[in-house]
Assembly symmetry: none
Homo-oligomer: 197 residues x 4
DNA sequence: AATGAATGAGGGTTCATTCAT
DNA sequence: AATGAATGAACCCTCATTCAT
């Protein structure tokens, strides 16, 4: 399996760095090869073409990203805690790997229609996680009934995404992770059942 | 003034269409010139370079976009109505001009770092409009005190932006404008002072 | 019309020379451009791709080649004289333009299946000229009846082609044109000793 | 001796097939290795480089080709019968091995100047066979005196070669071997009507 | 002001060959 | 002897921009 071989990971890591530093279009394959310490041609033993590198970067990194979040959520037992944890993990992981943050928030938007479809496919499991939390919250009676789940999910994801993008574009000058509780409060107070007398 | 001359607008309109139809990367200057009915060289009498066309497209279109929203808001007298109107107008305008929707939500994201900075500059007045509504709502006592305004604004903008992007990517198969009240409810219920006894 | 513009001919002439000197595969587009005194990109204003240069070279040169032969034949009034003239002209023209000789006899065989079809299309008028001479000779009673015309034509063309190829590969060290009468005699009379009464 | 080892023949046979199936330019060394059931590197234990494979293909196959013809001719006792037999065998062998026919008539022509020289070297014994028949025919008084032997040989070879090439390009839709007597008649007797008493 | 022919820099990809195992 | 992963040189073509008319 190609993905097990050491050079595969080498190239992926090199690609993330090179793309984060130079932007997708200024990231020549030869630059990635150099950073990875392999020959140009070697890239093509592991990836179909340049676009495939980008997809694979996202696939690998996003896979880990989602896995981490799912793991962290699994031992929380109500939707509120899960949502807070998701937000924290989302922010924390991108804080920890700023190359990845730049790639996901900025460079990946470079993509053409076809690539965008693939990225959305990869992103889907994450959106499902959010959907599940919403459904669970509703069952638990802590979120309203009758929510338009896809719409709410878009709003949650859009909120997180925009906040991270702003943070990346401001060159990560402030602490992203500490925003989590406020963001969570914004979202849940909108979702929560109101306690009236 | 160049911007007054008829060919300026012709080129801007052609650029929006060409980009929406072909995608950012397949939008050569010569294609825009052809659609605009001018010679390739003529483009450079009106625009410094290709990037300048794109910035100008966004400038012109976003200027009108914001102006429309400001106009519509001006005769509302509370932050809640203003916010609802802003959301409605945001959705309605992009619904009405689907070329513009594609360009702003998908194609223009594919630009390089520098262009992205400029686009954000142009977007600023819109963000100020949102900031003003938040401030006004707080003053009027209908939004909470002590809000982190830039953060809230990011959440609002991120919410709208993600919803429109999803709608564009689903090829505008449903009615975007009718989502406005639900979106507004999500946002304001989060923001609103809770009425406890 | 592109073919009328001076650069078109410049490029064609440069291509013939460069291909004759270096062989088709060592004939980089940039080399042809340099010899023609134009920029690399200019080539692509006149030709679709590298293969198109080759086809056009053959088209142009072969067009003239055939035209010359047809002209020379037209004022001969029997098939024998026509055939002799065709052979003479075939040899004489390739003798006069040794770059062309190299390209047609050696480099053009480089072609892939698709290109070969196109070359055959271009060659067709020449083969028709040969067919006509055979038919005329038969009508005039100087060639046998019941000839398999396509086969005879292949034999005639193959004969001329092989002789020229040998001459090119021997680096044109002897006089090709002076072979014409012997070749003509072989074609018309064959190898055998004649039995006359 | 390398040529005795089993993989040598395997690679040669694979090369003929791969070239016939894919064309000269799409015949990568790795494809030949795969078809031969050996590793890429193994090729270089038997052949100096890619060109050496091609030369060896031609050498091996042409060696057999000529041997067959020489054998068949040896028990004929006049030049006319020998010539007819040569033509028949030439046609028959290429009919029997259509991969070889494609390779010799089409694909191998696409080679570079140097390779072509070597191929001609290999072809030489065949040309000598033809020369010998011509000389014998003259001695026997059945061919004319004073023939320009190399020229006549070129005409004979060119005739056969062109006929086979046409047949290959027409995708071998008709029976090549049955043309032999007509071709022989053309060569020996020419086009002209014979004047017998 | 307008044209559009000409420019030429730049990069993704292929594939014959090598060499450590 | 055999493998096959790794190498890296080589080249066609695109397209933003210029400039003579």
């Amino acid at each position: 399996m190609k993905k097990q071989r050491p050079k595969y990971k080498q190239i992926i890591e090199a690609a993330v760095e090179v793309i984060a530093d130079n932007g997708y279009h200024a990231s020549q394959v030869s630059k990635i090869a150099k950073k990875a310490g392999v020959a140009d041609g070697t890239i093509y033993l592991y990836f179909k073409n340049k676009e495939d590198i980008l997809i694979s970067v996202f696939e690998e990194k996003m896979g880990q990203f989602i896995e981490q979040i799912v793991d962290s959520i699994s031992n929380k037992n109500n939707a509120n805690d899960k949502l807070l944890t998701l937000i924290e993990m989302h922010f924390r992981q991108l804080t920890a790997d700023h190359h990845l943050a730049i790639v996901t928030q900025l460079e990946l938007r470079q993509s053409n229609a076809e690539l965008r479809q693939k990225i959305n496919q990869i992103l889907k499991p994450y959106l499902v996680v959010i959907d599940d939390i919403i459904a669970e919250g509703t069952e638990q009676g802590i979120f309203r009934d009758g929510l338009n789940v896809p719409l709410i999910r878009q709003m949650i994801f859009g909120t997180l995404d925009e906040i991270v993008t702003n943070w990346v574009m401001k060159e990560q000058k402030y602490d992203l992770a500490e925003q989590a509780p406020v963001v969570h409060a914004f979202i849940t107070d909108g979702l929560s059942v109101k306690h009236k007398h």
